[in-house]
């Protein structure tokens, strides 16, 4: 609530409420005289703080807060009142008994039909919004004293153009310096790269020289190996040639008498001969000897034949004689044998007869025995 006083109350002063408890109403306890945190003057909002000589300015925010507080307080009071009234509402109609139902009935003298709704019209109205009381104007004490004025002329404090010059010098100088440094760095980098390229080319040239020398060394080594091989082969050929020459010389020497020796040995073995001599020796003389031998053989054979005939005749005669003797003896023998045989036969027959007789006798005995 807006107040036209210098200060406002957060809680308006009230009379002391009548307490039901008579003892409590009349007398206050000793504890109530003691300052508690709730009653501490330092924390009491009713106590004005600050300078009490100057006007206490209540700001609009504080006034608005106070208004809100008052409104809320009123609404709370109204709610409590309505609750209280609701608690005192008249009792309602008791419920109908079983089987019956309540009906709204008009008991007026003049009845009217209630089926139609009465003509209704809706009208709205709105009261003006609560207008805030405008705040009280700020108390401005009356002006007193003398007016005085002052003016800073150009050039009194400082000359901008003069003062800005060193700053600009520094700014421009630094910018230029940094730009120059950047340009120099770029140039330096470019120069470094160019130098690097040049160095690489020179290094590649040196590397190429190294490779050239390597390949040259390889070629020389290969050439040396080839020449050594060639020399070795040549030496081998030379040695072989020497051996051949020595062998040939030795062979020549060794074989120099070969012809004579060969012919000599051939001659000794008879490969070289006089044909007439050979023919005489190999054809004529053997033939001659053969003929002589043949004739002598024939003579010898003749003599032998004659001797043979004679001998044969003698032999034959001998044989005849012997044969005759033999025949005679044989005949004699045969006769003897025949005589013997005959005798034997006779004896045999006699024996057989005896045997037969014996047998017959035996048989006769046996028959009798049986």
């Amino acid at each position: 609530m807006a107040s036209n006083a210098a200060y406002d109350f957060s809680s308006a002063p009230q009379s002391v409420p009548i307490k039901r408890n008579a003892a409590a109403a009349k007398y206050r306890d000793d504890e109530e005289n003691m300052l508690s945190a709730g009653n501490n003057i330092m924390f009491d909002s009713r106590v004005v703080r600050g300078n009490t000589y100057a006007a206490q300015v209540v700001t609009q925010e504080q006034q608005r807060q106070q208004q809100v507080y008052n409104r809320n307080e009123k609404a709370r009071q109204a709610r409590l009142e309505s609750k209280r009234l609701q608690g005192m509402a008249p009792p309602g109609t008791p419920p109908p008994v079983d089987g019956r139902a309540h009906m709204d009935v008009q008991t007026d003298n003049f009845l009217e039909e209630l089926t139609d709704r009465p003509i209704e019209a809706t009208i709205e109205t709105q009261t003006e919004a609560f207008l805030d009381r405008p705040p009280s104007p700020l108390f401005v004490p009356a002006k007193n004293g003398e007016d005085k004025e002052t003016q800073i002329e150009s050039g009194d404090l400082f000359d901008f153009d003069l003062e800005v010059e060193p700053i600009l010098d520094v700014l421009v100088g630094k910018t230029l310096e940094v730009s120059m440094l950047e340009l120099m760095e770029e140039e330096e980098l470019a120069a470094i790269r160019a130098q690097q390229e040049k160095f690489e080319m020179m290094r590649n040239a040196e590397l190429s020289e190294v490779q050239r020398l390597e390949y040259e060394a390889k070629r020389k080594f290969a050439e040396k190996q080839r020449r050594k091989k060639q020399e070795r082969e040549f030496k081998e050929a030379q040695d072989e040639l020497k051996e051949k020459v020595a062998a040939r010389a030795f062979a020549k020497t060794y074989l120099s008498d070969l012809h004579a020796n060969v012919f000599e040995s051939l001659e000794e073995t008879g490969h070289f001969y006089d044909p007439v001599r050979k023919e005489v020796g190999e054809v004529f003389l053997p033939w001659l000897m053969g003929e002589v031998s043949t004739s002598l053989t024939a003579v010898a054979q003749a003599y032998a034949a004659a001797d043979g005939i004679i001998k044969a005749s003698l032999e034959k005669a001998k044989d005849i004689r012997v044969q005759a003797v033999a025949d005679y003896e044989a005949e004699q023998k045969r006769i003897a044998e025949e005589a013997a045989a005959k005798k034997a036969e006779e004896e045999r027959l006699a024996a057989e007869a005896a045997a037969a007789a014996a047998a017959a006798e035996e048989n006769g005995e046996n028959g009798e025995d049986q």
Partner: protein, 348 residues
């Protein structure tokens, strides 16, 4: 009393645009920038922050700060973003990061190489170009070369050397050159047919591609197996035709490649058969020192072949020019010119 005319009240400053990147003071500068890059709500802010990062990385102090704030992981993650501009800005920032030693250390410690590899197939050529630049800067040091080779870059680079678009085709060749400085990288390159890929690029219309193809081929052919492969694929005649290219670096690299290849006897025979001796002799008069040095080494190696030696002796230009180089002021050239002269004048 003077009226207050020389002063004026000013309105309150307008609020900063949400897309505007403002620098934080002190130690919060890098973390704030990284946090603005890693956020995904405001894509314009992220893009602007990436552009600012690219500028900040030119300062070594700032480069150290942003790497400590973990910008490398954020950038590698942004390479997979759907927005092309974001990927381009992230790749550009990575390229700037790799120039700085702190950035290279950060790339190494976070094992970023395998994460960068899939983005080499990005549809945007700007992204690919920036990533190649990043890898080129990264492989300027040995640890970078080892990381890139271990990350499986070599077979991809060989494939890219023949399939990449014309405007960026020289970059995978340059990167391949760096990778084969490692033995593992050289072996992988030879197994992936890098020699054939370089030979194929020798006939490209772009001078940069020809230069880098010849340079990479020359370095590859320090290996004996690569020499044989190069000779079998007719590299000698193609390199001989490049000896008259108008760009001096192409001539220098072609001469270097020939210098490597003709160390073998078959290489010497190949260059004599394709009449490559005359262009070499003419190139002795080239004004560029690096061209001359490569030609001198080639002449010294080629002079072993009797026919080539005879042609060099009988040429009216070869020996006089070599004598001129010997008497010139360059000690390095003079030394190698002496070697070449001895080789030409050698007799069995």
């Amino acid at each position: 009393m003077a009226a207050p005319q020389s002063h004026e009240t000013k309105a309150m400053p307008t609020a900063q645009q949400p897309d505007q990147v403002s620098e934080a003071f002190g130690l919060l500068k890098a973390p704030k920038l990284v946090s603005q890059i890693s956020q995904s709500e405001n894509k314009t802010l992220r893009l602007n922050a990436l552009r600012v990062l690219g500028e900040e990385l030119r300062n070594p102090l700032d480069a150290g700060g942003v790497t400590r704030a973990g910008v490398t992981e954020v950038l590698t993650k942004l390479l997979k973003d759907d927005d092309t501009k974001t990927r381009e800005a992230a790749s550009k920032a990575l390229a700037a990061l790799a120039v700085d030693p702190n950035g290279r250390f950060s790339l190494s410690s976070t094992a970023a190489a395998p994460l960068i590899l899939p983005s080499l197939s990005d549809p945007s050529p700007i992204v690919r170009s920036n990533l190649y630049d990043c890898c080129l800067s990264y492989t300027a040091v040995r640890t970078g070369i080892d990381e890139v080779v271990l990350g499986g870059f070599v077979p991809v680079l060989v494939k890219k050397a023949t399939s990449e678009t014309d405007d960026v085709r020289h970059l995978p060749l340059q990167l391949l050159y760096n990778c084969i400085k490692s033995e593992v990288g050289l072996r992988e390159a030879l197994d992936s047919n890098a020699v054939e890929a370089c030979i194929e690029n020798l006939a490209h219309k772009d001078s940069l591609v020809k230069k880098d193809a010849a340079g990479t081929l020359g370095f590859l052919c320090f290996a004996d197996s690569a020499k044989i492969t190069a000779i079998q694929n007719d590299a000698v005649s193609k390199l001989s035709s490049l000896l008259v290219d108008p760009f001096w670096k192409v001539r220098a690299n072609a001469a270097q490649a020939l210098m490597s290849i003709i160390q073998t006897d078959s290489g010497k025979k190949a260059i004599v058969s394709c009449e490559g001796v005359a262009p070499l002799i003419k190139l002795l008069k080239d004004p560029e020192g690096l061209v001359k040095i490569n030609v001198l080494k080639t002449v010294a190696a080629l002079a072993v072949h009797p026919d080539a030696r005879k042609e060099m002796r009988e040429s009216a230009e070869c020996l006089p020019v070599i004598h001129g180089i010997i008497d010139g002021g360059d000690e390095f050239l003079s030394k190698h010119a002496l070697i070449a002269r001895e080789a030409v004048l050698w007799q069995p």
